[in-house]
């Protein structure tokens, strides 16, 4: 009974460590890994439901496809690979060690060989077969081969020489497989005993906990120190893209009540970190990962185009803040503040003239009538206006005839439109009607008619754009005070050094693979006085046409130098 189960276990071990199993497992892992790159990982439930629908969502969720590299079945396959690797290393390792040890008995001739040559040796002097054997052995040594002569021959006229080189290449098996196993184990140690979290610190603030992602949520973990963001800065290229960003951090010991506020506590470390330059503490490392707006206060002007008199409101808000007007049902949210904005200032659609126009603000307005529109308003170019409606990817940019912050012009525009629409119903107007309406408007405002062409052009241009796009509002960025938070990645990774050790072993092993083993069986026969026949059979540890050709050339050179005749025997 016991024997039977023992046999079964051996059978299972045999299968798991067998080559076809390993090859199959590698391929299965490769193909299954594709899934996780096609389905975005670790997104919110809502995103998945929206993308795949309820049925496929529950299907995918059952199989853990949304975090598949940490799903039980993927980790099981990886563990199986590790198991197969370890058993195979132990099982095959024995034979490999045996194949590398100095030999005691000349191995049997191989069934397949890569090269077979015959050398006829005609010596002038009367050499014994031993001497010929030793000479050949010396020649082989010059080629880097180590040789063994089998002297325990019953046949006095025959000697067997065995030469090999590059045997050390066989040992590559060990560093490759053990290295890989170590990498996998290191990964396990990292995930079990380490953590990886995020930490966002507003300039001047201190934080002493890190947030670890758990599913859709972030869970705080207290740190044994507090980190203060002394200074965060971004450098920009000329065209407004960030060229580098860095934070000066000070790490303080925690006070007794664990409050991070007190700055008289002892300083542990301080450093300015950037993307490729982290701050390493004992077992925790702080990396510069990203940055973001921490709710910068913003002042802007809102021109309400939905009312006929175009009322203007000065509004103070902050980035990421949403304001709601209960009267109209409008929601105005500040999406983002850009300190550098690149804009094409060319009117010619075929030509582009990119310029960094400085700060801009992205404001989203949701109105019950017009839906959602996002505006981009440029602080230094207030008459330029970019916007996009919901679902649009590209900004539409237009140049107004005057900046919306110009109260007089806005009033003029409102009066003019009132005048114009009072004449007829909506719809189209003739140039004459427009001119008349504009003249009356000017007159009612006591503005000289001399200014008509100039004002008319500005008003006309603006009105055209508003009519064309039916915009519900206009915005003007007035002032802002940028406040950044620095986004840090905080990791504790006790498995890292194990992984690097494994990686180095793996690489050393892979380089050793390049050392190919060559083996030669050389049988020397005394065919007559001073006349020997030498048959050489060579193999290499892998099919290797170039290497065998080189070996053949080397043997040929030896024969030529000695004046022997070499013949290749093809079987």
């Amino acid at each position: 009974m016991k024997k039977e189960s023992q046999g079964k276990i051996n059978k299972v071990i045999g299968i798991v460590s067998s080559m076809p199993f390993a090859i199959g497992l590698l391929c299965v892992l490769a193909l299954l890994s594709v899934i996780g790159t096609l389905i975005a990982q670790n997104r919110s439930v809502d995103t998945y439901r929206a993308t795949y629908g309820d049925f496929w969502y529950s299907m995918f969720d059952t199989f853990g496809f949304f975090d598949m590299y940490h799903s039980w079945w993927y980790l099981s396959l990886l563990s199986l690979l590790l198991l197969s690797l370890v058993i195979a290393t132990v099982r095959h390792g024995y034979y490999i060690v045996a194949g590398v040890k100095p030999i005691k008995v000349v191995p049997a001739l191989p069934r397949k060989h890569a090269l077979k040559v015959e050398i006829q040796i005609d010596e002038q002097s009367n050499k014994s077969i031993e001497q010929v054997g030793n000479e050949l052995s010396d020649e082989m040594a010059n080629l880097g081969f180590k040789s063994w002569i089998n002297n325990s021959q019953t046949d006095q006229n025959q000697r067997q020489l065995f030469s090999r080189k590059g045997t050390i290449g066989k040992l590559s098996f060990f560093p490759v497989h053990i290295g890989l196993a170590i990498v996998l184990i290191g990964g396990l140690v990292s995930t079990q005993f380490g953590f990886r979290g995020v930490m966002n610190i507003i300039q001047g603030d201190s934080v002493s906990e890190v947030f670890i992602k758990e599913g859709d949520d972030y869970a705080p973990i207290p740190l044994p120190f507090s980190v203060k963001n002394d200074q965060f800065s971004i450098d920009f290229y000329e065209m407004g893209k960030p060229s580098s960003f860095q934070s000066t951090l000070s790490v303080y010991e925690l006070s007794e009540d664990n409050s991070p506020a007190d700055s008289n506590r002892p300083l542990i470390a301080t450093k300015t970190i950037s993307v490729n330059d982290p701050l390493r503490l004992d077992d925790i490392t702080l990396y510069q990962a990203n940055f973001g707006d921490a709710g910068s206060p913003v002042d802007f002007q809102f021109t309400d185009l939905s009312k006929s008199d175009f009322p203007q409101h000065d509004i103070s808000s902050a980035v990421h803040k949403i304001l709601e007007d209960p009267g109209t049902g409008n929601r105005i949210s500040i999406l983002d503040l850009n300190e550098h904005t690149v804009l094409n200032l060319s009117n010619d659609p075929m030509e582009s003239r990119m310029k960094d126009v400085g700060p801009s603000i992205d404001i989203k307005i949701q109105t019950p009538e017009d839906g959602t529109i996002t505006y981009r308003s440029y602080q230094h170019y207030p008459h330029i206006l970019s916007f996009k409606r919901m679902g649009e990817k590209k900004w539409t940019t237009e140049e107004l005839g005057f900046p919306p912050s110009d109260k007089n012009m806005i009033d003029l525009l409102a009066s003019y439109l009132e005048q114009l629409y009072s004449k007829g119903s909506s719809g189209s107007f003739t140039d004459q009607q427009r001119k008349e309406a504009f003249a009356i408007t000017l007159k009612s405002k006591n503005i000289s008619i001399d200014n008509a062409p100039e004002l008319g052009a500005a008003i006309g241009q603006t009105q055209q754009i508003l009519e064309k796009h039916r915009l519900p509002a206009l915005f003007t960025l007035k002032a802002f005070d940028r406040i950044f938070y620095t986004g840090l990645q905080v990791t504790k990774d006790p498995g890292a050094w194990i992984i690097w050790l494994g990686s180095i072993m793996l690489m050393v092993g892979l380089l050793l693979i390049y050392i190919i083993e060559y083996r030669m069986w050389i049988s020397i026969k005394q065919a007559g006085p001073r006349h020997f026949l030498c048959e050489i059979v060579a193999t290499s540890s892998r099919t290797n046409i170039v290497g065998i050709q080189q070996l053949r050339a080397n043997l040929n050179n030896i024969a030529n130098n000695k004046g022997f005749l070499l013949k290749e025997v093809q079987s």
């Binding site: 490729n276 892979l510 390049y514 050339a553 290749e568 025997v569």
Partner: protein
């Protein structure tokens, strides 16, 4: 029994190959020096792509490579050693041209941009790099195996990557661009270099796989005349295929390890299962499978050829597909 007397071989093939490549390197250095000398005082910041010398050089080199591809294919038909020699000559000239262009562009970035960098930072630049390295790896194979017909199967792939370059230029992705902060690291050079040697080697293996299948098919049909005469024996094609993967795999593994090291150094996580990382792993697993089957089970023949072709398909997706269709940490290689 078939007996062959052998001719003495004076210089080993490896030595000849080495001497040849030393010459190419000297030529590249010389041309780079000349180009920089000719261009250095004409460069201005923000200069348009089509006025850069490196861009023109890339164009000429690509024409040579395209011509080389055609001549290689023609050499299958005409079977003259001279035709094949012309094909190799064009390929060598094109490769030297591309390497010169890469170095010149490197120099140009320091004049045209605010901060110069090695030109391997966007898809257009790495495609040039991929083209040059694939040709280089192929040419090494050619001189090791003394067989030029393999080129007829590798160079069309090079032609495809030339086309990709042109497409990227037309779409406006060709201009030198400033580095994003994450790429400012010395890790980048080694990581990208190793990666593209790997890709290039896998491309050569894939091309050999196609060649293997064609020859095997012709043999099956019992053809003895025509194209089959210019194709090397199956076991030689098989050897080229295997050798390309044997070169590519360790280098590619090194690239992945360097990438992990860099990610750990820059972001604190050596592995985040981002699409590029995952696809590199997939590529590694596939070729690891190939090498095990080949080295330990002595598998050979058509199934290994298919494996090499499929493996290159996966490699191609890792190189391009991930950038074009998926998003992730490697988004600086993205288009659109």
């Amino acid at each position: 029994m078939n007996e062959l007397a052998l001719q003495p071989e004076q210089t080993s093939r490896a030595t000849i190959t080495f001497q040849k490549w030393a010459t190419y390197c000297l030529l590249i250095i010389g041309f780079v020096g000349l180009s920089i000398f000719a261009e250095h005082d004409t460069l201005t910041p923000g200069q348009a792509l089509d006025t850069l010398l490196s861009y023109k050089l890339t164009g000429y080199a690509n024409i040579l490579l395209a011509a080389s591809a055609l001549v290689y294919i023609a050499s299958l038909k005409f079977q003259g050693e001279l035709v094949a020699k012309w094909a190799s000559g064009l390929a060598v000239a094109g490769m030297i041209g591309l390497f010169v262009a890469i170095f010149v562009r490197w120099f140009e970035t320091y004049q045209v941009l605010e901060e110069g960098h090695v030109p391997i930072s966007n898809l257009y630049e790495v495609t040039i790099f991929f083209t040059a390295l694939t040709v280089a790896i192929y040419l090494i194979m050619e001189s090791l195996y003394q067989n030029r017909s393999i080129g007829a199967f590798i160079m069309p792939m090079v032609l495809a990557s030339v086309w990709l370059q042109e497409w990227l230029v037309l779409e406006g992705y060709g201009s030198p661009s400033e580095l994003v902060p994450a790429l400012k690291s010395y890790w980048m050079h080694t990581h990208v270099l190793a990666n593209f040697i790997g890709y290039g080697a896998f491309a050569v293996a894939g091309g050999s796989g196609v060649m293997y299948l064609i020859r095997a098919r012709l043999e099956k049909k019992g053809k003895t005349e025509g194209i089959i005469r210019s194709l090397p024996e199956l076991k030689i094609i098989d050897d080229v295929m295997y050798r390309a993967i044997a070169i590519g795999f360790p280098v590619f593994t090194l690239a992945v390890i360097l990438g992990a090291g860099w990610a750990y150094y820059a972001w604190g996580s050596y592995w985040s299962w981002d699409p590029k990382e995952t696809w590199s792993l997939i590529v590694m697993l596939i070729y690891a499978g190939f090498l095990h089957a080949r080295l330990l089970k002595n598998w050979s023949g058509a199934r290994m050829a298919w494996w090499a072709i499929l493996g290159f398909g996966f490699t191609l997706f890792c190189f391009l597909g991930v950038n074009l269709f998926l998003s992730g940490l490697h988004s600086y290689g993205a288009v659109g």
